[in-house]
Amino acid sequence: MEQADLELIRRARHGDPQAIETIVRNYQSFVYRTAYGILQNVADAEDATQEAFIRAFRSLGRLREDRTFPTWLARIAVRISLDMVQAKARRAQDPTEEIHGSVDGGEDAASLRIDLERALAKLSPEHRTVIVLRAVQGLEYDEIAQVLDIPIGTVRSRLHHARMQLRTYLSGERGDS
């Protein structure tokens, strides 16, 4: 993190609205993509993003090391998103129902997006989370371990299984060999 980012966090801790606004702008894509990757639903991802920032700023005083802010924020976003997935599961709603559109086997961007979302939706929330944190957010294994509060060996094996499953589902969607 750069010095300017650390200064923003320090100001945000004192309730400076301008600093908070800048931080949200800087990190909203990061949080939203994480949330959407896990939740697979626009409205839920927006709610999770908003909630993650609110919780982060309300508990910013408890963040010991400002340099860990991105990982800490990702952890909050992941927790909120997984809680929402569990809540939805309790209401017996299938996340795949949220994904609309037809696939004609074409390779355009829209059908690729639908393929990916369908394949992701078939993964378990834990596998979705780990693959989003690695492939989308580019987090290192030790950072993923911190975000998910699991050993690094578990990150490695979970990521392997997630990728293999995604491969299987994508092959099914696209009709690959």
């Binding site: 908070i20 949080v31 939203y32 961007a109 690729l112 690695r134 990521l159 392997h160 491969r167 994508l170």
Partner: protein
């Protein structure tokens, strides 16, 4: 050559550059000889690329900063109204404190003198209509009306100014 079942669990970490030196060398030796695992690594790499380009199409709503600020009670309007409320309550508290001080402190006699003076002024004002001619009463009434209009105009401008001012800190 080691079996694919043994090597496969390492391919993901190999792709991410997370393998130790000797494991990396073993995977590379295996990949040089195994077309199946090479294809698998390529496919996983393509999936990662596809996921990344898919994620780049996802954008949080533009008003997210405002939503967060509103939820935290830190929007401009809220900050402004809170500050006006602080000023109001501080003025009220100061007024109450001054009245209490005037009543309870030894200097209360000074307050009593001021009170009697104010009372005398009010009595004089009430006696005014009987001591001057009707023309002067009209002049006094007109002056009062002008002062009232001026005061109301100033108050309106002051309120307008506080509403339009941008308060951030």
């Amino acid at each position: 050559m080691q079996s694919c079942e043994f090597m496969e669990p390492m391919l993901s970490a190999y792709l991410d550059g997370e393998l130790a030196k000797d494991d990396k060398a073993r995977v590379e030796a295996h990949l040089a000889a195994c077309a199946h695992c090479r294809e698998l690594v390529d496919a996983m790499q393509n999936d990662d690329r596809a996921l990344l380009s898919w994620a780049r199409t996802l954008a949080a709503p533009a008003d997210m900063p405002m939503r967060v600020l509103n939820a935290l009670g830190l929007s401009r309007q809220e900050v402004q109204s809170r500050r006006l409320a602080y000023v109001y309550f501080a003025s009220l508290a100061l007024g109450v404190a001054l009245v209490l001080a005037a009543v309870s402190l030894p200097a209360a006699s000074a307050a009593a003198i001021l009170f009697h003076f104010a009372l005398a002024v009010v009595r004089a004002l009430f006696a005014l209509p009987w001591s001057v001619h009707a023309e002067w009463l009209v002049v006094l009434g007109a002056l009062s009306l002008i002062i009232l209009v001026l005061s109301l105009t100033c108050l309106r401008r002051a309120l307008h100014w506080t509403r339009s001012e941008v308060v951030w800190r």
